[in-house]
Every structure is written in C-alpha cells, then in structure tokens.
C-alpha cells in the first residue's frame, strides 16, 4: 500500500474497532491463476483459505449444514469447489455436464438436500439448472432455465420455486465477450424446484439490459440488477439498472435515480436486500459506488463511494450491509440509516475480494 497505514483503516494486526467480531464472510478471491481461492474471513482477518484451480464467482451455503459452502466458477470455467468451513477441508468438487460451462451461481434447496447449479451450453448459451445431491454431489437431473446466458439463481421463500436471471448473452466457446447483442433476450423466470416447470417469465422494457443478479426479500419481493450492453445501443441516455418484482406482479424497472446509471457506468455488480429496512444495496465496481433503493417505493435513497466495490451481503444479524472491495476492504453500512462508520472499516492484506460476498451463519463463526 502506498504510504503509511491510515488511522481510519484497520489493517490486519491493528487494534480492532469493528462491530462484527466473529462474523464470517466468504468470497472468491485472487487475481491470478495460482492464487484463486475460496476465502473465509472476519473483520479480524483471514479465517480459512481453500485453493481453487479456477477463479470463483458466486457462493452458496447449505441451510441445514451451515459449514458446507460451495463456490461456483465464473464462465467459461466448468468446476465448483465444495468446502467444509468448520473442518477446514475441501470435501468435493462439482463439474458441469459435457458441452457446458458453469455460470457463476447456484443455491441449495430449502431442505438442504439438493444443490441447484447454473450451467449454459458452450455453443448456444442455452441455460440449464443442474440438480445435484447436496451430499453426494451426484447429478440427479436438470431443468431448463428457459433462457440464454443464465446467471444468478435464488430460492424463493417457501422453497417451491427458483428465481433465475437469464442474462440473455451468449459467448463464443471459451470466451467471455457476447456474440448475440443484436438478438439478446434477457428474462427473470420462476421454475418449480421439483418439476422444473416454468412458473412465470418477465422481461424489462430495455432489450439491451442483461439481468444478472437477484436478491429476494422474505415476502417474495425480488430486486433484480442489470448490466446495460451499451455497445448495442445507438444513444447514450441512461437506463435503469434495477427492477423490482412483487409476487403476482410485473417486473418494473426503477426510474428514480436514473442518473445513477451513468455514474455506475451501466453496470450493477451485485445486490442484497434487507427485509426490515426494505432497502436494496446495489454495488457498482465500475462506478466505484454503492447505491440504495427503497424496494417498496422505488425511490433512490442513497449512494456511497467505495473503490472497486462489488460484493454485498446482509450481515448475520440483518442490521448491516457488508461491502467488499477488491483491495481487501470491508465496510459495514447500517441498513436503516445508511450510515457507514469509518472506524468500522477494515482492509485485509493480500486479499482480493472478488465479485460476490456471502455471510456465513452465526453457527459457523
């Protein structure tokens, strides 16, 4: 780090003033091959590291075995890592079906028996939700994601349905650049967790908005965040980067705070929702900021600058948004007041938090 340690920052080893002692978070970390890991850390420092052959992306924790954490590879990689955080062991590895790549996300069923993993066809980009036994990691079956370029998947309250963000983008085999901007079609779909039947499908008005990430409140309200494929647009006008879906309703893009789309450079990185405050926190690593929306009124209610911020998760006690930056920084923002005390900031040395952050259950800490 350039210069001396700042009093406002608490690098590892310095006196801790953080409020969440013991709370653990997990994330993919590492910038280069050879350094990729699933990292578990607290505000005190690194708790555990699990080496990964590929760069990870999203993570999921079992609802019935809180020490079981899965890290999914970002496209176009094909494997995922299964770890027991309590025992400090890698306990398994998952791999896509032949002809597919992983799409960075997955989730467990409510009973913890099954693991849903998002995959996409290497050539067509058509999405599949692989259904694995959570303990055996054996492939039990699969569902269609009913779209191309699937990305994040979340379990709906009650466990009967999955919400899937189909990004709509197809990339060339082994690549990451989209090749179908002219014909892309992004959607939010709901899929029955038992039958795989399509329960509902929604799109936003902007055809060049790729729906990427989801967060669901306990009443089923979903915040969906997007990345605008600007190169496919002829104008430079801002577009909404967040949309809200309420049970039984339509998917509605939020127009308030539209100019934030420019500040965020058309790119929302991740989203978390707090049920009590009814606030969605949306990160933008390209805009170096976090923006907050009221998910009931649709109002843009705040913004904070944070260099290369991407990961966001609700704290274990539900009172804070935990934010991670790729320079190893962690910040905590009160969900009700949106205040972010500088003295609770930490920076973990030699840690490069990647796109997503997961709060581990208190039992694991």
């Amino acid at each position: 780090m350039l210069g001396s340690c700042a009093a406002a920052m608490l690098p590892l080893g310095c006196e801790d003033a953080g409020r969440a002692t013991g709370e653990l978070w997990a994330s993919a970390q590492g910038a280069d091959a050879g350094s990729f890991e699933l990292l578990v850390a607290s505000s005190q420092g690194v708790h555990e590291r699990f080496a990964s052959e590929v760069r990870g992306h999203g993570l999921a924790v079992s609802p019935t075995n809180p020490a079981r954490v899965v890290m999914f590879a970002r496209r176009p990689e094909r494997v995922g890592l299964v770890c027991d955080v309590g025992a400090g062991e890698i306990v398994g590895r998952i791999e896509c079906a032949s002809g597919r790549h992983m799409a960075g996300h997955g989730c467990f069923s409510l009973d913890g028996e099954r693991l849903f993993v998002v995959e996409a066809d290497l050539v067509t980009g058509e999405g599949t939700i692989a259904v694995l036994g959570a303990d055996t990691l054996e492939r039990l079956g699969e569902f269609s994601s009913y779209g191309a370029g699937p990305h994040e998947i979340v379990l709906m309250p009650g466990g009967g349905a999955l919400a899937v963000a189909n990004g709509g983008l197809v990339t060339a085999p082994g690549g990451r650049d989209p090749i179908n901007l002219d014909t892309m079609r992004s959607s939010l779909v709901f899929v029955d967790t038992d039958s795989g039947v399509l329960l509902g499908e929604h799109t936003v008005a902007e055809p060049k908005a790729s729906l990427r990430h989801l967060a669901v409140a306990q009443d089923g309200t979903i915040a969906v965040v997007m990345q605008i494929q600007r190169e496919a647009l002829a104008d430079t006008e801002p577009r909404p980067l967040i949309a809200i879906h309420r049970p039984g309703g339509a998917l509605v893009s939020l127009e308030d705070g539209l100019e934030l789309g420019t500040a965020m450079d058309d790119y929302a990185g991740a989203v978390a929702v707090d049920d009590v405050a009814r606030v969605a926190a949306v990160t933008s690593p390209r805009g170096n900021l976090v923006a907050f929306w009221d998910i009931d009124t649709g109002a843009a209610i705040g913004v904070q600058r944070f260099d290369d911020v991407s990961g966001v998760a609700l704290s274990a006690d539900g009172t804070r948004f935990i934010l991670s930056g790729s320079g190893g920084q962690l910040r905590q923002t009160d969900t009700l007041t949106l205040q972010e005390p500088p003295d609770s900031r930490t920076r973990l040395e030699n840690v490069r938090w990647d796109n997503h952050l997961l709060t581990l259950p208190p039992e694991v800490a």
Binding site: A6, G104, T236, L289, R305, R345, R347
Partner: protein
Amino acid sequence: MSSRLTTFALFLATAASVALGCDSSGAGPEGTTTLPTGAEIMRDTVQTTVVPQMAAFDTAAQAMVTDVDSFCAAPSPDGLVGVQTRWRSLSEAWSAVAPYNLGPLDDDVITPKIIFIESMRQRGTDFTQTVRDGIVRGIEGTETLDLDYFDTQTFDEVGLLALEVLVFEDSAQGNSTDPADVLADFEATPRKCEALRGLSELLASCAATVHSGWTESFADTGEPFAETMAGPELADGTEPVVALLVVLQEHLDYIKVRKLEGILDAQLSGHFYLNVLATLEAMDELLTQPREESFGLLERMEATGNTAEVAVVRANFDAAEQAAMDEDRDALATAIGLLDGNLKREVPDALGVELGLTFTDGD
C-alpha cells in the same frame, strides 16, 4: 542517464523488491542513497505537475474573462480573433487537467464539476444543439445573462462548449462560422456579449474552485486535495497512485471511445487534435517528471529495472503525440489504445501496485 538515476541504479537489486507500496524508505547498502518513497513520488508528481497544470487552467479561465470583457467593450475583428484564440488556449489548458477526474473535478456522484466544464464527459453526448437552443432562449428572454443566471442552467448548456458556440458561430439559422457573421451577430445582439460574459465568468468560477480544491481545501477534508493524494488513501478507500492511474486510463478510453470512435468535439474551433495533444503532453509530463528537482513514476520504473516497459510507454506516447500532430484519427485511436493498455498493465505491474479486480472484467 541523469546523475540521480545513476545513483539509484546502483540499488537495482534492492530496489527491485521495493514496490510502490507500503514502504519504509527502502534503505539500501551502507553509504548510498535510496529511492524516494511512494508517498514522496506522489507528492512530487502532484506538486510539480498537477498543481501547476491546475493553476494554468485557472489562469487561462480568468484570462478568458478579461479578453471577453475587452471584446465586448468594443467588438471588432481583432477582438473576435483575440477571444477565439483565447478559447483555444483555454481548451488546451483544460485538456491538460481533464484527465484528473478525481477530487475537485469529481465532487459529486451525479453532477460532478467536470461535466459543467466539458459536458461531453458525462456520457459522450454532443450537446451543441442544446447549447444553441439555450443561448437563443436566454437572449430572447429578459433575465440578466450573468454568472448567477448560468449557474442555474443545466450542465449541458454551460462550460467550454457553450463558450465555443458563442465565439465561433453566429446564432442565426445555419449558424455561420464566418468571422464576419459572428462579429455582426455580436454587434447586432448585445445580449450575446452578456451571455458570453456570464458563461466565461461561470467557467472561471469553476476553474478557481477546482484549483483551490487542489491547493487549499477540498470538500470536508479541510486539506488540499494535493495533500490527500500524497497520503495513504482517498475518501472512497482508493490508494492515490491507483486512483491516478485509473483516471488516466479512463480519460484515454473516453477520448478513444467517445471521441475518436464517436464524435469529435472542438469542431467549431478546429482544435480537437491540439486539445488531445495537450492531454497527451500533460500525461507524458506527469509520468516523466522531466524536472531535475522531482522524481517521477517512469523514473521509478526505470530505477527498479523496468527499462523495457518504460521504453514501450515512451514510444507509445511519442506515437500518440505524432498522430495528434498529424491529425490522423485512426493512428491516434490505435496509439491511445496502446497507452491505455500500458496504464492497465506495464505501469502498475512495474510500480508494484494493484489496480481493482472487478471494475474491468465483468462477471
């Protein structure tokens, strides 16, 4: 090689392990001097290059006000040439500091100061027609067209573009750029001069605010932003050298994508390429620090054994500057693309700094 570099080159073996990071002063073998710390280099770089460039922009903006006042007191062909020349000088002075889109120029998430100076910076939109409409609306109105009036207008109706429209074309249908027509328009429409004064004063006010942010006090920090840049981090947690490299990259990307591959600006004045040249020369100076009393980032790279990388960067600057002088749009886009890459890879790698992980690569 300068005498300073000769001395520092003696410590390549030691210096190679001293990244521009959390550093002690990196003491070398007994009886010899050591490399400046990263903070010292940043302080040097900011004080010897950025701050003077900011001062020059401020001075140029104040000079524009003066020349506008002279012209408007008695519009004449020579006076028009004078304000047009002054606009070109001002736009070059701006182009030298436009890359520093942080701190005082980036003082607000939604409406940062930079877009009130260069409206295209927001989203790459050419607001020429918006400016024309605003000028006509103002002139046809009854409000006094002073600084206070323009301070209430939106960012897309003020700044350098608005001044350029005023001094380089008339307001009649067709917007003639014939100097005789432009002068006649000023003579026939005194409120045009009123608008010109108001807009030039607003820009001068902006420039003064930005300059003082760097040298006196910025936001609620209570300290000059130049001092913050020499410290451990900025308000959003960024390391200053990282922030500097990123804004330089972003500006080059803006020039390439929004302008060279999009819409060239400064067309009424015919000054686009010279403005880009001013930007490149300013960045070159920032990285090179050619003054004896200062030690720059490229020198640091050389002193730590990255001479090949420095040679590449210097060659790319030379190519870009030549392309700008040749007004070769394609060659300039290519060269700027290479420089952008250097700022993402060779320069940070050689300096031992890590840029953000997630801001460039997507999910």
